[in-house]
């Protein structure tokens, strides 16, 4: 393929946040008429790059050229006017308006200030038609499923500023995880639209966590890790194993090793069994068994269904199939309370939104789960509470060691420890940890991992989710591998299980 000039070229992009370098000298280019995948784990810098490109963030270094001219956007609307449109995972349209209005709102045809409804409908219908879609533009957007709303969002964004025909105005279309809640047919329809746009010369930047989809529709991919460029490859030149290796990388070298850690062998009887538990659109039905004192690790890429699986086992989301048995009793899982009563604890990956109450003190956050279980009428006696809190602040080395400090002011690692302490004082039988080490410093990381080991030695079952394979591998007796919202393998840890082996399983989705 003779390479034409890139429509968009970003060189040496630097973006810094206080204390964090989110992007360090990233190069990225996008050619007309290609679908280009942007890949990377959580925190790799994908969304930061997109936000810099669309003018949401200002850039701290580097240049962006569009069609050979240097540009600098200060707002998304500027970027849009220059022909860079974005469609996000959550459809940003108004469900209460008609499809036609959603496509054209903000630039409705008017005469003397009066909207020309007939013309508006006609223009919208033409746009929809020319993109090969079959949507009734008069119907309210909310009458359509999410997938169609997504297509409408694309129609809107490519229709922006075009005068000579659809797509003539939009040169770059960014699709940020558009497929994460679509089913197969809907994905195919989206891909068909993407290919049509590509044939019209639009450059599409596609973010997705589904490897198959990337291999199905993309021409080229750029992989980021830890805010840096890892590589740009043509899709046909790089196989899935190679890609997964690039994405996960070897970022753990500097982490303190658990010296010659041997997994303890005293795994007890079965604690939790999940039979065909699943939820439509989140994760395919899976079977899983967790034994007392066992650490089950979940490996898989971001968006592969790790969190979704954990949330079903806690009742944070309600499963729509299968049954969960804990300690021999079937648990209804209609709300977290059911799981909590059965001895399950869950530390969400999203500490701020789903874990902490930032306004409350460390002490209050720590006793919250215990208190919730006791009900409001039976407060934890002050002496016992202070003793427990002091014990866990000391045991987990929470800093500042001040139970009166507001938890919102603590660092990420200490917040994580507060969450751990909250659940540990309830003495759960199964502890679910979703990315407990994300965004915290290396010292705290090692401490949390050691804690997991010692808890499991004491007979607690742990379901451990982490992006880093070595971390999962080092801690887990059993490793569940997820790929594209499906639990594809359960591997008993042993000498033959290596990161490469897991990588292959993630990449191929097959196991022996």
């Amino acid at each position: 393929m003779a390479e034409p000039l890139p429509v968009l070229e970003m060189t040496g992009i630097v973006k810094e946040f206080p204390g964090v370098r989110a992007l360090s000298g990233v190069d990225f280019r996008l050619f007309p008429g290609e679908i280009h995948a942007l890949l990377g784990e959580n925190g790799a810098g994908k969304s930061t790059l997109i936000k810099v490109l669309t003018g949401v963030y200002s850039l701290d270094g580097g240049t962006v050229t569009l069609n050979g001219t240097p540009v600098r956007f200060h707002s998304p609307s500027q970027a849009q006017q220059a022909g860079i449109s974005t469609v996000y995972q959550e459809v940003n349209l108004c469900p209460n308006l008609s499809v036609a209005e959603n496509i054209l709102i903000g630039r409705e045809p008017t005469r003397f200030g009066r909207i020309q409804w007939k013309r508006l409908r006609r223009e919208a219908a033409e746009l929809v038609d020319r993109l090969g879609l079959d949507i009734d533009v008069d119907a309210p957007l909310s009458s359509y499923p999410l997938a169609v709303q997504q297509l409408v969002a694309i129609v809107r964004s490519v229709g922006t500023g075009d005068s000579d025909g659809p797509g003539s105005g939009t040169r770059v279309l960014i699709l940020d995880e558009p497929t994460s809640s679509l089913d197969r047919d809907e994905v195919l329809e989206l891909f068909a639209l993407m290919r049509r746009l590509k044939d019209q010369g639009v450059a599409i930047l596609f973010v997705s966590h589904f490897l198959d989809q990337i291999y199905e529709v993309c021409d080229r991919m750029t992989v980021l890790r830890n805010g840096a460029l890892v590589g740009e490859h043509l899709v046909r030149d790089l196989d899935q194993v190679g890609l997964v290796q690039l994405m996960i990388g070897k970022a753990l070298d500097q982490l303190e090793e658990l010296h010659d850690h041997q997994l303890h062998a005293d795994v007890g009887e079965s604690l939790l069994t999940a039979d065909g538990v699943g939820r439509t659109g989140r994760i395919a039905p899976f079977d899983l068994e967790i034994k007392k004192g066992e650490v089950v690790g979940l490996a898989g890429l971001l968006g592969s269904g790790r969190t979704e699986l954990a949330r079903l086992l806690f009742g944070a989301d309600q499963p729509d199939s299968g049954k969960v048995t804990i300690g021999g009793r079937q648990v209804p899982m209609s709300a977290p309370n059911d799981a909590i009563a059965a001895g399950v604890a869950f530390c969400s990956e999203n500490r701020r939104a789903e874990g902490l109450v930032p306004d409350l003190t460390v002490r209050e956050n720590i006793v919250l789960a215990l208190q919730a279980a006791r009900g409001w009428t039976r407060p934890v006696p002050a002496a016992q509470r202070d003793e427990l809190v002091a014990k866990y602040i000391k045991a987990l080395d929470i800093r500042p060691a001040d139970p009166e400090a507001r938890v919102g002011q603590l660092s990420g690692g200490n917040q994580q420890k507060v969450l751990l302490a909250r659940w540990l004082i309830t003495q759960p039988k199964l502890l679910i940890l979703d990315e407990p080490t994300r965004g915290i410093d290396i010292g705290a990381k090692a401490e949390i991992q050691k804690l997991v080991v010692s808890l499991s030695e004491d007979g607690m079952a742990v379901l451990y989710i982490a992006a880093e394979l070595e971390e999962v591998l080092r801690l887990s007796h059993t490793i569940g591998v997820l790929r594209d919202r499906k639990l594809v393998a359960k591997l008993a840890n042993g000498p033959e299980i290596t990161p490469t082996r897991i990588l292959e399983t993630i990449a191929s989705g097959e196991h022996q």
């Binding site: 209460n96 308006l97 008017t110 009066r114 009458s143 089913d183 197969r184 047919d185 439509t280 594209d484």
Partner: protein, 341 residues
Amino acid sequence: MTTTTTREPAAPDSRTPGRAARILADRRLPVLVTAGLFLVMYAVGLSRYQNYGFAETQVFLNLFIDNSYLLVAAVGATFVILSGGIDLSVGSVIGFTTMFTAWLVEKQGLPIVVVIPMALAVGAFGGYLMGYVIQNFEIQPFIVTLAGLFLFRGLCLVISKESISITDSTVSSMAQAQISLGGGFLSVGAVVSLVVLGVAFYVLHHTRFGRRVYAIGGNEQSALLMGLPQGGTKIAVYTVSGFCSALAGLLFALYIQSGDPLHATGLELDAIAAVVIGGTLLTGGSGYVVGTLFGVLVLGLIKSLIQFEGTLSSWWTKIATGVLLCAFILVQRTMTSRRSP
């Protein structure tokens, strides 16, 4: 190829919702329900009070005359509620306008034609200020318009603690003017309120501003990301509401022919109730200003039915309004919970 989906492939007809579902999801349904309710109530009135003159055209037209100010205020409230906000200052602005008008006309001797634009400007400016604070400092509309409620009611009292009756001849001739219509007549106020309704309908459905009001009410975040200038729209919405309240105040002054610091206390509740009964979602984004007309007519009809009944006291109006409000809120709730995916 491995399947990436966990769901059954969508049935081919999932695109086009079933007919029943479509009717139920139709946003015009609540308006039709309210219109139907109005007709049923009217029919009940006809059958019960036929011999007491309920069937006279004028009884029907009086609904428009007696509720003209409420209609105008409710139209303003419709803008605010459609945009997802709320305006509690309506009643106070109305009360203030009656005082302001009566004071200027009676105590200062200004001609009414000069006073009208002044009163409207003050109301609109008050609304603008509230909108400005809501938009720029991100304070809840509830609390900002609450301050507006206090402020305007306070300003009423600052003008005078006593009621001022309006004896100006121009005003009384305006108040007594009758526009004959079929078997009856309408007052100037009623005609003005219907014109306001028509203008509001045009603005909401045929101008970009109107559509932005719906867009913001539907999803403010999206409206922002779609590049709509929502800041201006929000401020404009409260300005419209302030203007409508002031106009409603003028109509009220015309109707009562006096200014009183306690006029229209709590009228904002009636206005909000009329909007909700008229099928507009209190969460914003869905509803029709025509529905508001029916909401006002239903409230007015309750009042006149209670009058015709004779044995029922006026407080039944409030109870009936509350019951209707409750019913419509619960219906709205079930409708929205079905709609959201």
